[in-house]
Symmetry: C3
């Protein structure tokens, strides 16, 4: 391959890595915006730690579990050793991916992906989970569950052999993270004061809509790298088509959620429109390279329709998810996976059937894994903060600080020494 | 063309697309920061919807109106059909732009531009316009007005034939959006409590300077793609020169606004410096590829000088523009367009004259179009929220939520069911 | 060189420029988050002005002082004239850097770096320095001190000849900025009400943890350009390795600060984890291209360990640094510079010794320069705001505005005319 082309490919993959990185800022501000003021430090702390833990864990075991190479290719499980094995010299790193990117690029791009799975969970379990239990849960999820199911398709495992298609991870990242979130919420229970015996449901509004909206825009921005980078090269037609389908689906998701939520609530609900955008993005992810503009718009629109219905549904069955992660990532992730079998160049009953059992397999495995893990943590170190801490807020109890401190106006206040 | 070069060109255009995308986050936080706390959800809602509406509208009609191809090239109006026509296979998409980028890249880059025009308006009419009227106004503006005037130059129309020069849109995007904003504000009227019969003017400060400042930095960031992408390839000399002129003009804009606003108000006015940066950016946009560093600094400096004068002028004549969009986009847009005839490689009386009538034509057309459209909305569905709603804030009335909710401290509060 | 490769190289350098640009937004939100509510406008104003001043100053003198070319190469000082000398035609601009980037790219990438040095200072001296004195200090620092020490290594001066290694500026940017910050704080003194005669120390918490956290994530994002662009081409193996080492060090920095701060304070201290990430990033900067993943993790981990210890140490000796800039940039900058002699491909006693005297030379020169300059300002125009202004806040006194204005709920308030 000519050097210029290889370099351009690798530049794009690194830019895509930066974009996926900034999704973590997007998740952070989205989740911070949707929680109460008293739990903001806590959710930020988790998001910062998840990224650190996710990259280190993926470096030590995850990457080698997900791409075991010759070891157990085609199967259910494989492992090619701990840590990153630096290829011998430049040639080794370059030859690695036949023209698309180097060994290092592959790791860092995939590593940024891996950390997102745990981040999806953090929003759903916000405002009542113990910090240390959540961090342990995240380590195990990124170290084992994410790479194992990821390997089934992207590592050349059994779902790949079966013809399952998931371009950038509607199933492998979003439905996977959403299934883990659902399992975690079921073990954890709702926030106190949310559901009442008489069937009443109290909305607990997020503390900052600007933060939440900023998060959605940053996620859309990052999705250009998430989907665009999943081409695994800078192929001009493929990457630019992915940009178009991704943007149109996100836009249509906003419109879909706008229309349905207005019909349902008779008001212009900002949270719904924001989650509609995310739903559209998750929905197009499985087939962003397979669709024309019209199909992309339809997929996004339907994802947007789904969002308000799904959010209300989960609330009715007392699944308390402060940021709507289950609706966005699990429900729209499943929708997007199925959409590959309905629209675009892969449409067909046979493909649809493969899509169904592929997403079911990943969701079922992850759900059982996450439920078991969370249950284990519950009966050992405990997963739920005390009632007192939940009322006071996790910021004061776990972090001894407020997200928004008032200015010190004079020097007559009580002094304290650290 | 060698494949590596084509790929590098296309990668740059896609990165530029991402950068122009993030300008929408910049506009959102800028406008959110400059409005009152009670109207924050509303302005965010509009910005999110504009982006969605803008991309979809541009996909369905705008793109084909702006680039009609053979249809009516050289004229005032043309249309090549609804929707995107997917070229036949990869070759069709690649051959499209002789080495710069694919068909899809062209659409998505131009689509991101189109949505900015409506966004410029949203800041100027903030805090008193009806949501639905504004959304209808935006749809029509992006669907018709923007692509028609855009076609005059970038689509190969009559202004292009006449030798008018507007590299990245001082006229076609900024003065156009600013003229629409001015017309809309004139029909809409000022916020109540802003101007008093005795001639007094009450400042209504924005609710968050960090949000506003963040917006300006994100806009500068995005401008690297807005101007740098307007090279329409990754040509190393052209794009890097554009980076230099853009940055120097923005910097000089800050200095210019700092000096003049200090002289006028005897204080260090942050809003003026922030708008000075934007003024410098708008000013350099028409000729960013034609200037040396010294000319770029001068253009930016003068734009910075203009900002405080223009803001005070519009306030004196009771044009109420909460974010200063008219000064930044219309006034500095005109200045930047003229500057092409004064500085740089195209300087000359003849060019200056062409620049004058080019910008006048676009501004006049847009002003009349926007004024008529807004007037039509006024006499039909109405454009202004009720006095009560304006006092209470649009967030509560239109969206039934607050931008910044307080934490729920106990469970004894009143329960409500959605 | 083939055109595609040159173009890909230049695209990457321009993307890296955008990323380093966004670090200025990161510094702005980080510093804004860590100061009190009453000083937020002031810190934002400074950050906006520093960027403008930095780029213009670097354009006029800095760039030519730092890269004097033939003039005094190998020595301690050189200057090749004022302003940017536009090369003759495209060829001149292209030939400039033997295949990596154009003349314009070189300037704008380096210019973005230069402005960061002054930004590091602004956080440390926040909440009590006079605005004009700070701006003068910044101009001189970016115009003279930064390019002179920068030239010693990157301009081909005596430290380069001696074999000193500083890949992307642990010494030349971070320790340099940190040393200037330390000197400035020593002349300026601590905020009033911070240290008490009886030895008590009062924590003054920052007003917004979301802003601070956003800053850290944006800085990490920008660091991909800061370190990745320092390869000075898009060399696939080198840039991707730099991405990996940078990310792993940042992650390990978070873990290191988490562990040590928990041991010290028995709480989960968000500020420490955030500064731990920055410490890891500063630490890896000197040798990001020389390390394997394991070494990068160790370097970051140790930087993370250092952060809480250093922050407490400076507080004990009454060096009042509101954002911890001295610990992050000076202390971890020194650590990162030494780490090049301890880990990776350049490890060895000889190299370690060169690293020691290189960083000492730059720190000593900068400290003396900054101390003298700040002292000169102190005895002439004064550097410290009045006691009354410090208590009331700099926003009201210097800028006549609040960072967060309340909404105007009716029109019966007192009217004022500007």
């Amino acid at each position: 391959m000519e050097q210029g082309l290889f370099t351009a490919n690798n530049v794009w993959m690194l830019v895509a890595t930066c974009l996926v990185f900034i999704m973590h800022l997007g998740f952070m501000t989205l989740e911070a915006g949707f929680v109460q003021k008293k739990n903001v430090v806590n959710i930020i702390f988790k998001n910062a730690m998840i990224l650190a833990i996710g990259l280190l864990t993926y470096c030590i075991v995850g990457f080698n579990l997900m791409y075991p190479g010759e070891a157990f290719a085609g199967g259910f499980f494989g492992f090619s050793g701990f840590g990153l094995s630096m290829p011998e010299g430049d040639a080794g790193a370059i030859d690695y991916a036949s023209g698309g990117y180097t060994y290092w690029t592959d790791f860092i791009f995939q590593g940024m992906f891996a950390a997102t799975a745990a981040t999806i969970v953090s929003g759903a379990v916000a405002e009542r989970i113990k910090l240390n239990s959540f961090l342990i849960f995240s380590v195990v999820l990124v170290a084992l569950a994410y790479p194992i199911t990821g390997m089934w398709k992207w590592g050349g495992g059994w779902l790949n052999t079966a013809g399952f298609y998931d371009f950038a991870g509607s199933t492998l990242v979003h439905a996977m993270g959403g299934a883990a979130a659902l399992a975690a919420v079921l073990v954890l229970g709702p926030r106190r004061g949310k559901y009442f015996p008489n069937g009443k449901i109290k909305p607990i509004p997020g503390h900052s809509m600007p933060l939440a909206a900023m998060g959605v825009f940053l996620l859309w921005f990052g999705w250009f790298g998430f989907n665009g980078g999943s081409v695994l090269s800078a192929d001009p037609v493929a990457v630019s088509l992915v940009f178009v389908t991704t943007s149109l689906a996100a836009s249509a998701g906003a419109i879909g959620a706008f229309v349905v939520s207005y019909a349902m609530f008779k008001t212009h609900d900002l949270s719904m429109v924001l989650n509609g955008i995310l739903g559209g993005l998750v929905g197009i992810t499985a087939g962003a390279d397979q669709m024309g503009p019209m199909s992309a718009i339809l997929i996004g629109l339907i994802a947007g329709f789904i969002i308000p219905l799904s959010v209300v549904f989960f609330d009715r069955i007392k699944i308390d998810d402060p940021v709507g992660a289950t609706s966005v990532h699990l429900v729209c992730g499943i929708w997007g996976t199925l959409a590959v079998g309905i629209f675009g160049s892969m449409a067909g009953l046979k493909q649809l059937w493969i899509q169904v059992y592929g997403v079911l397999a990943v969701v079922a495995f992850t759900f059982v894994f996450a439920y078991g893990l969370m249950y284990l943590l519950k009966v050992t170190i405990g997963i739920r903060v005390s009632e007192e801490e939940e009322v006071k807020g996790l910021d004061v109890e776990e972090h001894e600080m407020h997200a928004y401190a008032e200015s010190v106006e004079d020097s007559s206040f009580q002094m304290s020494v650290k």
